[in-house]
């Protein structure tokens, strides 16, 4: 049990998941099409943004969320800061409601994750609409948001991997 009380190493719970998300995003943005459908394009960075806030409050966490968002903005050529703000909104909302939600049944946690995903997409839609004076296709937004919400099991796995590592936050 002594290993469990060791503080978390930033590279293991922040940097590695962020890198995995970046690689997954690059891989699924390959110009491939299977019949009429392209590859799905969920926002992978949503998974760690939610999980980091659930695992524990952190000083480094928001900055890694910021960097993940900026990577998406550069990679997808969005207004710089759009995904950074959207992910930070989700991170902040999760952090603010953390005490209420921790320990709830699995379905409630999934609904919580879906709710913060909706919040992040709402922020992205508002920013893009204001910036381009044109609303993005809502069906496309729902499709991408739905795919992102379906990735909760990955967030659950990340939370389970690290939530008991630092006993101060149990």
């Amino acid at each position: 049990m002594s290993g469990l009380s060791q503080p978390l190493q930033p590279w293991s719970w922040l940097l590695v998941p962020a890198l995995i998300c970046a690689i997954a995003t690059i891989m699924l943005d390959a110009p491939a099409r299977f019949g009429p459908l392209g590859l799905p394009e969920p926002v992978f960075a949503m998974v760690p943004a939610f999980a980091w806030a659930v695992i524990r409050p952190s000083v480094l966490g928001p900055f890694v969320v910021l960097l993940s968002g900026l990577f998406l903005d550069f990679f997808w050529r969005e207004p710089l800061g759009m995904w950074a703000l959207a992910l930070l909104a989700a991170y902040t909302a999760t952090l603010a409601t953390r005490n209420l939600m921790v320990g709830q049944p699995e379905q409630v946690l999934w609904a919580w994750y879906a709710a913060v995903t909706v919040l992040a997409f709402l922020v992205a839609v508002v920013i893009l609409t204001l910036e381009s004076r044109n609303m993005p296709n809502l069906l496309g937004v729902i499709w991408q948001g739905g795919l992102t919400a379906l990735m909760y099991p990955l967030a659950r796995r990340l939370i389970e991997r690290f939530e008991n590592t630092d006993l101060r936050f149990r």
Binding site: A30, L66, G69, R77, L128, N134, L138, G140
Partner: protein, 380 residues
């Protein structure tokens, strides 16, 4: 003495507070970048190397990410190629029959195209039209494809080293794909017609009606700003209009279709097949062709020449007919001084028919009115 040994050694700031402060700092940083970003800024024609906002950083990012994306895309491309080969092998007979029918159909179009091209060349020679020159192209492979509702852009593996510039139109073997919005040394970023930011001047081939093709992140961009009675019908062919000088006139874009809400949309030709290879047209838009220095010359006609006495005389001449010739001459001189600035913009608006039959006169109006090449018209 370290910080922990000093007078603050007993100070304990709750982690929740520091985490909240860090979050606020991160949000402020993101907001600042959002406000400072100018991704739509076009390159300065005086200094093309100067980039606005974070566009320089974007180009550098594309330069770095292009080979990485290419690496990840390769296995998928090979898998896709194998699947296509297998499909082709099993559907060879059906495909052959279909192609025979298509060739017979295209032969008719080819004959028509030859006849039209011949007639067109004769008209051009008779009218002494200055036709659009052939546009050189650069072939490139697409290595990254963002296709979400917020962004529809691609990275191609050709950049400034191959002569690609910001604003160059991009086409596939089927039709217009988009235009270049960012250029690095060996990579370029293409904004697709379907992107939320994309606005493309187009025309309906049948009626010549103009419209703006507006992307929304979906597969079928909408036709906005349509004018006239029934300017478009289901199945009408949509071409680039060339207005504004961003695209050459007459490039095939797609087919008009009405959605469930009654909004006119365009089913893009470029959406018929995966866009893996593209051609970047080294087309110079009007703003690049124009002599920038002359357009920027903001010196007004010499006001000093028109002194108060002349103004007074001009007013008197207006009030008391018949006018004296001198003030009128002064006014004409002032107008003549102002002429060079407006000359450039006036020419493209004139029609060849307006020209006087002076054989020495060079008709410059044909540039925007040149007909699309027969091969392009016959495309669908």
């Amino acid at each position: 003495m370290s910080f922990r040994d000093g007078p603050f050694q007993d100070l304990r700031v709750p982690l929740a507070w520091t985490a909240a402060a860090a979050t606020i700092v991160a949000v402020i940083a993101a907001l600042s970048m959002l406000l400072a970003d100018k991704r739509d800024a076009r390159p300065d024609h005086k200094d093309p190397d100067k980039t606005a906002g974070f566009n320089g950083a974007r180009s550098q990012f594309d330069e770095v990410i292009s080979p990485i994306s290419g690496l990840f895309a390769a296995p998928l491309r090979w898998t896709g190629g194998l699947a296509d080969d297998a499909r082709g092998y099993f559907n060879a007979v059906d495909e052959n029959k279909k192609l025979h029918k298509e060739v017979a159909d295209l032969q008719r179009w080819k004959d028509a195209a030859i006849a039209l091209k011949n007639a067109n060349q004769r008209y051009e020679a008779l009218l002494k039209l200055r036709v659009e020159p052939d546009v050189p192209t650069v072939a490139a492979r697409v290595v990254q494809d963002s296709r979400g509702p917020f962004s529809n852009a691609r990275i191609a593996d050709a950049g400034a080293a191959q002569g690609v510039k910001v604003g160059n139109p991009v086409i596939s073997e089927h039709g217009v794909v988009g235009r270049v919005v960012g250029v690095a040394k060996t990579a370029s970023r293409i904004l697709l017609l379907t992107d939320v930011e994309s606005r493309t001047p187009v025309m309906v081939d049948r009626t010549n009606a103009r419209a703006i093709l507006t992307g929304d992140g979906g597969a079928e961009p909408s036709l906005n700003n349509l004018r006239g009675r029934e300017p478009v019908r289901e199945g009408d062919i949509i071409l680039s209009s060339g207005d504004g000088g961003l695209y050459p006139r007459g490039l095939p874009v797609g087919v008009a279709t009405k959605d469930l809400r009654g909004v006119w949309r365009v089913r893009l030709y470029s959406d018929r097949a995966p866009i893996d290879y593209v051609r970047i047209l080294e087309f110079e838009d009007f703003s690049q062709l124009a002599e920038a220095a002359a357009l920027d010359n903001k010196t007004l006609p010499p006001l000093g020449a028109v002194d108060s006495a002349q103004v007074k005389a001009a007013l008197e001449a207006k009030l008391a007919p018949p006018p004296t010739p001198k003030p009128a001459a002064a006014t004409t001189d002032a107008a003549a001084d102002a002429k060079p600035a407006s000359d450039t913009s006036a020419k493209p608006g004139a029609k060849p028919a307006d020209k006087t039959p002076d054989p020495k006169a060079k008709p410059t109006a044909a540039k925007t009115d040149a007909k699309p090449k027969p091969a392009q018209k016959a495309h669908p």
